[in-house]
């Protein structure tokens, strides 16, 4: 089958590429665009390691065809912070030991980013429920939840100070 011309906005930059419609978005990101933050954990829509933000929704990019994503606005962990300018969530994951091996972390943080956009002041229970599409095999989740709650508090404090 022939390749399709696909246009995306990835981390704020327009990109164009040719891909077969059946190619999965995670493969396009990692292999064509060298954006390797989103990981492939299960490739069966269960683990959430491949989570990206697409048009304002948290999406498992192993379960979207490149063709379906044509025209979409995508943000990955690379678009949230840089080594010199970490996102508050990244800082809090570091401070609260929200990661051990780090494999799940890009997906966790990208999902947590959208969760806090929708619910800036979540309870612990809301964080656990809102993060239930992301698996971690190391931390036991406790410190991930702590890190997200700390990031929410920090973001809210900054917002309040600005007002």
């Amino acid at each position: 089958m022939s390749k399709m011309h696909i246009k995306l906005t990835v981390n704020g930059k327009p990109v164009e590429l040719l891909a077969e419609p059946r190619e999965l978005l995670i493969h396009v990101l990692r292999e064509e665009l060298s954006i390797t933050g989103p990981h492939i954990g299960c490739e069966t829509t269960h683990c959430g390691a491949c989570t990206i933000d697409m048009d304002g929704r948290s999406i498992k990019s192993c379960t979207v065809f490149a063709a379906q994503a044509n025209g979409a606005n995508v943000t990955t962990i690379e678009g949230l912070g840089t080594p010199d300018g970490l996102h508050v969530l990244q800082t809090m994951f570091k401070e609260h030991h929200g990661l051990q091996c780090g494999f799940c972390t890009p997906g966790m943080i990208t999902r947590a980013y959208r969760l806090l956009q929708e619910n800036p002041d979540p309870t612990e229970e809301e964080v656990r429920f809102g993060m239930s599409g992301n698996l971690c095999r190391c931390t036991g989740y406790q410190n991930i939840v702590k890190a997200i709650l700390a990031a929410a508090a920090e973001l809210n404090a900054v917002k309040e100070a600005a007002q």
Binding site: M1, M4, E20, P21, R22, E23, L24, H27, E43, T44, T45, H46, G48, T51, R57, S58, I59, K60, C62, T63, V64, F65, A67, Q68, N70, R111, L115, G130, M131, S132, G133
Partner: protein, 284 residues
């Protein structure tokens, strides 16, 4: 996990989508959120040469409550169902069920149309739709027709929808009474081991109407007419609920699988139905 090749189409009207499917024939398939279909395609369990993506068809989106009738466009996502305050007050059972489907990422893309058209007995919305006595709206080359949710499911992955029809919407009358969707699952994000959708109306302390449907306990969802009838006119006491559970057991047909042996599922079904009846009653 790469599916077999296919051609991709993104029509922007229902008419164009129906025509595409008619022209392309058997090997064309509709894709909505893709969160049931893509996993099957990855395992190469389907034979699809053309995917017709409905994402751009605005007419398939949205929730309308007009008079006493609720109409939900097929492409409305589970996330949107949960976020609709109007739907949450007209039919809270939909929100309660949607919150128990999969996980946040899946709910952002999974649609009500995909969930009810799919035909997987594990899907949660078909039982809810049967409980609500919902109507499915289908559009094919010969125009529109409707099928009741209670008549739609024939066997696993076999439904009354013809291959060349698109499900455009579901609709139902705003229900009267207390509602509950109770689901037993092995872990977050899993399909039901057993689930029950229940609506109970009361008048003067007695049950005046009841509707009961069970999920994932047969090769289709099961609307248990006799179980509801067992409650109507009763005071919803322990013996009445026992009668409803017995009537439900007579019409489900669970099989042994990785969720457990059939006997265990029957046990779970009884526990879940009791809880759902109690919860719906407390809300009636």
């Amino acid at each position: 996990m790469i599916p077999a090749p296919f051609d991709y189409h993104r029509p922007d009207t229902v008419e164009a989508a129906v025509k595409l499917i008619a022209d392309l024939g058997d090997s064309a398939r509709v894709i909505a959120g893709g969160h049931s279909l893509i996993p099957l395609m990855k395992m190469r369990m389907t034979d699809i040469a053309h995917l017709v993506d409905l994402q751009k068809i605005g007419a398939l989106k949205g929730i309308a409550i007009d008079g006493g009738t609720v109409t939900i466009g097929a492409m409305t996502t589970q996330h949107e169902l949960i976020g609709s305050a109007a739907l949450g007050s007209a039919a809270p059972i939909i929100r309660e069920a949607a919150l128990q489907i999969a996980d946040p990422q899946v709910r952002y893309v999974g649609t009500i149309g995909g969930n009810v058209a799919n035909g997987d007995p594990g899907n949660d919305m078909p039982g809810v739709m049967q409980c609500l006595d919902a109507t499915y709206h289908l559009r094919g080359p010969d125009g529109e027709r409707t099928v009741k949710a209670r008549d739609f499911y024939e066997a696993a992955y076999f439904t009354a929808r013809a291959d060349d029809e698109i499900l455009t919407a579901v609709s139902f009358e705003v229900p009267v009474g207390g509602q509950a969707y109770v689901k037993q699952k092995r872990k977050t994000g899993d399909y039901a081991t057993a689930a029950a959708a229940v609506i109970i109306a009361k008048s003067g302390g007695n049950c005046s109407a009841a509707s009961i449907a069970m999920t994932n306990l047969s090769d289709t969802p099961v609307w248990c007419e006799a179980a509801g009838d067992a409650l109507v006119g009763s005071s919803l006491g322990a013996a009445d609920i026992d009668n409803a559970v017995d009537a439900m057991q007579a019409v489900i047909n669970p099989q042994d699988d990785n969720k457990g042996p059939a006997a265990f599922k029957r046990h779970a079904a009884a526990v879940i139905l009791r809880r759902a009846i109690e919860r719906a009653t407390s809300r009636a």
